[in-house]
Structure formats: structure tokens, C-alpha cells
Symmetry: C2
Subunit: 450 residues, 2 copies
Amino acid sequence: MVQVILLSGGSGKRLWPLSNGARSKQFLQFLSCPSGGRESMLQRVIRQIKESSLDCDITVAANDQQRDMLINQLGDSVNVVLEPSRRHTFPAIVLSCTDLLLNKGCSKDSVVVVLPCDPYTDAGYFEVIKQMASAAERGLADLIYMGVKPTEPSDKYGYIFPDDTSAQLAENVLRVKNFTEKPSVTDAEKFIANGAFWNSGVFAFRLGYIIDIVEQRYLKVKDFAELRSRYSELPNISFDYEIAERTRNAAMVPFNGNWQDVGTWNILSSIMPDRTIGNVHLGTQCSNVHIINELSVPIYCDGMTDTIVAAGPDGILVSAKSASDTVKQHVDQLVDRPMYEERRWGTYRVLDRTSGSDGMQSLTKNLFLRPGCNISYQLHHHRQEVWTFVDGIGRLRLDDEERIVRAGDVIHIQREQKHGLKAITPLTFIEVQIGTDLVEEDIVRLEMNW
Amino acid sequence: MVQVILLSGGSGKRLWPLSNGARSKQFLQFLSCPSGGRESMLQRVIRQIKESSLDCDITVAANDQQRDMLINQLGDSVNVVLEPSRRHTFPAIVLSCTDLLLNKGCSKDSVVVVLPCDPYTDAGYFEVIKQMASAAERGLADLIYMGVKPTEPSDKYGYIFPDDTSAQLAENVLRVKNFTEKPSVTDAEKFIANGAFWNSGVFAFRLGYIIDIVEQRYLKVKDFAELRSRYSELPNISFDYEIAERTRNAAMVPFNGNWQDVGTWNILSSIMPDRTIGNVHLGTQCSNVHIINELSVPIYCDGMTDTIVAAGPDGILVSAKSASDTVKQHVDQLVDRPMYEERRWGTYRVLDRTSGSDGMQSLTKNLFLRPGCNISYQLHHHRQEVWTFVDGIGRLRLDDEERIVRAGDVIHIQREQKHGLKAITPLTFIEVQIGTDLVEEDIVRLEMNW
């Protein structure tokens, strides 16, 4: 049984405004699904793994903000390991490996395959993964790369040099002579001329290989909780730098199929099945235009060529496809607070924020609670909340008294008043917060069983 | 004293999404003002008239939906005549002429100048208007046109043919031989080769000329109220077709200065002083891009050329400047209800509309009341309203009892409950409407004096 670790990190800044800290690019449901409907990159790669004949368990390595999205999109079908803080791929992979060893009872001989969830690939990719797992199983090398045939001298990838003087270690398995992470474009041109491959970020190894490195170089833990509490002792570095560049005994399986790193609007739009998603009206003079509109108001577009428009609660992107990469450098200026989030209990959308002259502020949200889900029993020191119920039926607890609420009910929650809500049927309500210090941290969560 | 009639009609569909029925293009405050700040086309033309030495009174002919915007932008400085229903320029001009004759006591000899408020012009334009008024005053013709030197064979204008065989009637005043409204482009080319001018929509005449035509062709009224009540008996036709094309005794004063019909985003952007208005971030690869963002969330744009982006509560336009005209044909599909309106008492913005499964609906608004202004004392049969006050102080009347409300107060207004609100200081509040039939018509206005 192979252990697949799927890396679900990354903020997806280049897919602003539709990705944010909690809703990374791998959760955007813009791809077509064979069964009809749309799926996310994460859902797609998990479907592809299951459709391949790879006999495996899947662990998703993610950060805490992504937890609710993961559960919404994947249910309980996978093992999820959450980072205590957001760090680079080396500590994230170590965390999942430690979970496999100490929580899941995997042996040090277990074969692990690490893969990112953002490449858009075909079924051949998973055939290569099977060959990689088999090479690791047979001990042909400590670390097995997937090498992707380069299409341009990019400075975004690591380059793998197969040892052309040696025979294959096995069918399709080449010894690796050297690995260089992110060279200059000039160097990349030379590398490609010399037969180098791109590092796809897919690695296979035996669990003990990484565990032993961590114990030699950094720390040895008794249990998983200890690693979580000492997580910051691991260096904040990529797996590529910490492991791939330093490995002497590596091999590679080449992959020549469809492989696109779906990190920019330009590439994402190229694999979108529809030209537009949402309330969009195109004039007759548009060509190669892709528009995604998550707002309720319409977008009208005409006369544009090679353009991407993406509009959501966080903002609006209008970009030439060739320039869609540049948004990444601006995101920190653009992002204020997330205006839309999917949580395990449901979703919310910020409708309005208003500041008064005397320090009073308001925040208005539209909230949706899934049936059977609840928001925690809580109170706030600095704000009142007004809930106006638009749809559904729920159980409201207010200062330890419970009542049924339904569409048409209005509940005014005072400062310091204990309140909690559980949806019986799908529940939609408008929340108006009003207070002098409207921060998410002004919340005291109270114990209660629904 | 010349009587200027400024036509403020038109829906400005081509400036969607920032213009709508109540907020026509002439109210959009995107032009730079000599005193600093920004002004609308309407404010600009009135400032220009006042800066010229034309001795005149100004009447603005508008429709009912524009009344509050007119008062907000112009105060009491002009006479306003409102159409009982929205009709073409001939009935609108007749209505204002009748107001001048029967309400304002103007004589039939009074000189009237009609001008649209959307051309972007310079001071020379008002010098020509003075010459036109003088020609009408001296009785050189029944109707005096302003002829604009054509720059292209457009099919959007009427063409005026001066009689080149005759001498000038006076300096710069030419006898008009013929007038043709909106020819084909091919015909327009010939017309221009033959020395024709564009009809700018500016006309001068004596009040009696139009009054007499109306009485001969259509109806004679005792007072202004009678004309308003019989307004539909006037043909729904443009002044150009009804008067200009049928006049035998016309003259023309040519104008060669700066004259742009500010009806499309393409032209409006060409006279905007700034490339961007609002929360906009441009990348380094933009050229000739204009962006107006009335939303609070940011717009990021890069890699675009010759593009206009306009975002507001009603929707988002992304268009090549050359194609910005095409939105007009789509507006009827795009427009639902206005999401933002300026009223005399203040402004409101629709934040959210949600429909429940059992017919319950909610509408959430952010409202702003100017100090001293009030919304009428009223009740609703089918909806409750929840007001959460964010800023300012106001007087609330609820079921005939009055109290002071201020930031932090939450008021729940039940169905059938009488309620009214007057701002003491600038007052901002969030309104959540909830009910089964959320229409503007569900309102009973009650008598009360604040």
C-alpha cells in the first residue's frame, strides 16, 4: 500500500481575487468533471488517483485555514494533516511522514509518494507515479523524481540531470547525476540542451529515508504531538532545497504527457471548459476572452482579445492573459480581509463595512449554515449582532434558553449575551455587527452540546 | 433676458453601468472643475453659461426620476420643469415653453435657446449661442440652428445645408436651405462634400413660434396644469423631426470650436482628467486605459491597451474603447433594479438580495440621510424592516412616539408599524427588509410634520 501525500499548501496569490488564504487555487471549482458539473484541482487529482490502479492511502497536507474547505470538498475520504503554522514544503512533508509513522502505524519501509495538487495532467502521469513507487519499493534509489520534459527555459523550476553514461536502473528509471533548483533563464537554456528535465515536485521514497534525515539533522520526537509543538524547529525551507539538492542517490522517471502548472489565470483559463462562468454578457467582438464572475451583478464585455476578467467579493481582475502573472506582486496591497469564506459549517459573504465618525463600525454579512451544522456558542465583549433570518429553520440558543427560529425572525444579540445557532434545514440569514472594535478576535467560545 | 432651456432627458444607456434611469450620464461627476474637485456634465454646462456673459434665466427640462439628482447637484439655482411621463424632445420642449409663457410670465417675443447638456465644449460655444439669440431677437429667421463643422460622415446627426447662393443674413448668420435628419453614411459623405454642417441640437427661436405651432397642430391650453394632463396628446417625436425638418425659414450660426457629444465611454474617458477614479491598481503594462471604480473592493488591471473598465453597484463593463458603444444594445438584459440611487434625502446602496425557499425574501441596504432630511412617515403591509444605526443622530418616530436614535441603536419595525426618520446629523444605517413581497410599491405614506 503506497502512501500518497498530497500537498495542499500555497496561497495562490496569482489567482487573486478568487483565491485567498482560506480558498487557495486548488479549491476553485472551475474544471469540468466527467460526471458533469465542475470540480476543483484538488477534487480532480484525487479522482484521478482513485481512477488509476495505484493501491494507496491519501494524506492531504494542508494548513489550518484550509481545513473547512477540505472537508467540504472531500468529506471524510482522506486523511488530513494540518500544519500548526504555515511553513514551507520540507516541514509540511515531515509532518505528514511523522503522522504516517507514529499515528497511522506505517513502517519505515512504506513507500511514500509526495505530489502537489496543482498540475493539470492526464492519466499517464499516474502511470509514471506507479513506476516511481515501484522503483522506491525496489530500493533503486533513495529519492525518485518525476522528470518532466521542458517546453521552455523557465527559471521557475528545478532541473534534473539524468546520468546519460549509465544504463537505466530499470525500465524508464534513470540514475540522476545532478539537480539544480531554479537557475537563470540562460543557464536553463544550457541545461535543456544538455538533456535536463524539470522537477515536477513529485517524489517517491521510503518513509524511513526522510524520518532518518530529520532525526540526524534536526530532532527526534516521541509522538506526533511533540512534532507539532516543536514544528518551528524544522527549517522553513522547501523539500527541493533540503532534500532534492542534497541527495546523492537519486533516480528519475521521465513523464512526457500533458503537464501544466495551473498557477496563473492564463493557464487556468486555457483548461476551463467554458469561456464564461456566472452572470456574464459577451458582445460580438470578443476573442479568446475568459470571464469568471462570482458577483451577482452582471459583467458586460466587448471588443477584447486575449483577456481574463475575474470578479469576486475580494475584488476585480482585468488582465491581458500574458500579464496575468503580475497580480502576484500587488496582492498584498489589494487584500484587506477575505470577503467570502467557505467554512465547514457553511459560507459567509461580507456585504458591507461602514465606519462611523465616533469610532462605531458595522460589518454586514450574508451567512449560510448547512443543515446539522452550527456556529459555536459564544459571546462578544464589544459588539452587538442582529440576525435576520431569510430562509430555513434553526435552533437558537440565547443566554442558555433555546428556541426555534425561521425565515422572518429577527434576533437582536446584545454585547455579552451568549448565543449559538444550529441549522435544522439549510439556513440563510443576514448578520449586522455593530460595535467599536469589530475584530474576529472579539469572541469568547463557550462549551455546549447541541 | 434670454430663456435657456437645458434638456436633461435621456437614459444614458451607453454609459452603463454607472448611468441608470435616475442617474443619467449628465449627472456623473467625472469631469474636472476649475475650482478643483469634479463636476458633472450638467454642472459644467450651467457653470459655463454663468461664466459667459449671456443674460439669461435657465430652465432644466427633466423627468421625474431625475428630480432629486437635479436638486442635489444644482440646488435652487435653476427653474426645473418635470415631464409627467418620459417622452421625446418635442413634447419636452413644448412643456418648458408653456411653463415660461403661462407660469413665468414670459412674452411670446421672448427669445428661447434650447440646448442639450451633454456636449463637451469650450467658451466659444456660448459666444455662438449669443449670436443665435441675437439673430432670433432680430427676427432674422423663425429657427436658428447651431451648425457644427463635421469631422466624419456620421449617421448619428442631422445635416444642415446653408444656402451658399445668398449673402449672410448678418455676420456669421447664414440662411438655411435644407435640413436632413440622420442620413446614411454614404449620403453623409456627399453632404459634407457639399458644405453641410451637423445639427448640434442647439436652437434659438421666439417663444411664440413654438407656441403657435403647437396651437395650430395639436392643442391650446388654458394653463400649465392642463398641458401636463394632456401631455400624451403631443406626438412622441424629436424636435428635429417635428420642427427642424419642417421649418422653411431657418438660419444657422456655424461653430468651429471643441464639440464632443459625451455619450459613450470612449469619449467620456477622453475628457476625464484622471486615468483612474476609485480603488484601482494599474500594473506597468497598461496604455490608454481608463478605469472608474465605484465599488469599495479593488480593481487590478495589467497588460491592457485602449480599454475602459467601469464598475458600480449595477454591474461591471470591460470594453475596448472602440466597442464601448455596443453596451447600449444589451442594457435591457443587464438592468434589473437600480442598485444605487441618489435621492434628495440622501443615498442608498443595495448590498444584497436573497430569496428563501418558501417565498420569503430579504433586501439589505446601506442608507445615508443628509442632516435635516427625512424619509416619509410610512408603513408596509408585507415586510418588516430592521435598522441598525452606524453613524450620526436622528429622530425616529415609531407608532406616533418619537425618540432619538444614534450609532449602535437597533430598531425592529414590524409589519403595519408606522415609522419615520429624520437626520439631525449625517445619519448612516443598515436596513434589512424581510417579507414575502418585497416591492417598492408596498408603502403607505402617512401625513406628519417633523
